[in-house]
Symmetry: none
Subunit: 244 residues, 2 copies
Amino acid sequence: MLEHVRVILVEPSHPGNIGASARAMKNMALSSLVLVQPAQFPSAEATARASGADDVLMRAAICTDLDTALTGCGLVLGASARQRGVPWPRLDARQAAAKALAHAGTVAFVFGREHSGLTNEELDRCNYLVQIPANPAYSSLNMAAAVQVIAYELFMALKQSRPDTPAEVLATAEQRARFYEHLEQTLIALQFLDPAHPKHLMRRLRRLYNRAALKENEINILRGILKSVELALMDRGPWPEKTQ
Amino acid sequence: MLEHVRVILVEPSHPGNIGASARAMKNMALSSLVLVQPAQFPSAEATARASGADDVLMRAAICTDLDTALTGCGLVLGASARQRGVPWPRLDARQAAAKALAHAGTVAFVFGREHSGLTNEELDRCNYLVQIPANPAYSSLNMAAAVQVIAYELFMALKQSRPDTPAEVLATAEQRARFYEHLEQTLIALQFLDPAHPKHLMRRLRRLYNRAALKENEINILRGILKSVELALMDRGPWPEKTQ
């Protein structure tokens, strides 16, 4: 799972962001949270925003500096929206998640202060700078929102490394063929479809229903409707002559 | 860009979530926000959490019901974490973003109440239910966090998009609503649907047709068929008494 991934928040100033980050982590099956010099912690606001992830908060470690927070970590990834003078090696969030999943040891994602991000000295500890692709005109995500995106990409990467969910059972080609035949006969009986000038009506309808990828029980409903139209037509008289 | 994507928040109870959603949207180049019966708006807390995205808040529309909020929308995608008895057609966030980008008309992403999400009646308006893959043990994201993930996937899809597939024009939500109403009336007239015991028939049929993402001309064909059934019923006599 994702036990080997540590989320480190450096000097978070708003306790609400700590709580929201804990929730985002638990939503995505992450549990290891480390706080470096939080302005206020523990806090009622953090607990409220954590909602059902208060267990992540309770187990959060608190450190006085980033180096301590990184103890035992192999791969270190620093999240940052700021453009840097020195071109650090970069990954986007999706690439970073793939790299984190492929790493055998402990991986740290480091998130910087709300207003100023990570310092260059802190980025010196990172193997890569991770950027979340964003609107160039407004690229700075809220801290917990950034944790949410990274955690989501980690969960997606984990999910895709596993076998897929079973496919749905669709109607067979024969069941579909019988439905289309039934539909055509009914439309002829309704005088909606003129067999002498069918145009492309049946093709259009097939295309529509094929796109829906009908299930067996749905075909049964649709054929039930056709049956009730046939019954209604049976005990009406012949169609009047067309007058126009 | 992403001007054709509308974010609709249904009955948000916490103004902070409205502000954080606006920020998440602007970070990902989205700007069209619609609020359905917000508990409190405008609000100082929403503005604070929006940070530099207060322009998105200022332009937000406020509606009294979801149908009004959906005016003009073609593709409608409802975000939901809850498991449903009836299996709605589903997309994950990434698939939904790809579908939204491929759609030529206006696309709505609908987010439900903080504690209870969207009702089944609200999901009946949606072509697809969108689920953000998450920890099965704690799958409910904060509202603004869900907006962040969807908006991020939209931005990623935009970034990766190639203008090779022509976008298709779907019927609008209003056209679909009128078709379902017409279908229901016709099924009642056919005595296929008993209004006293409707069961889940209309929901099943909506699900089937929503999945097909009907085009305008297809709706015209289907309503033409319904019209010809009505004509056939008009000049038949009353239904015989049921004998069993």
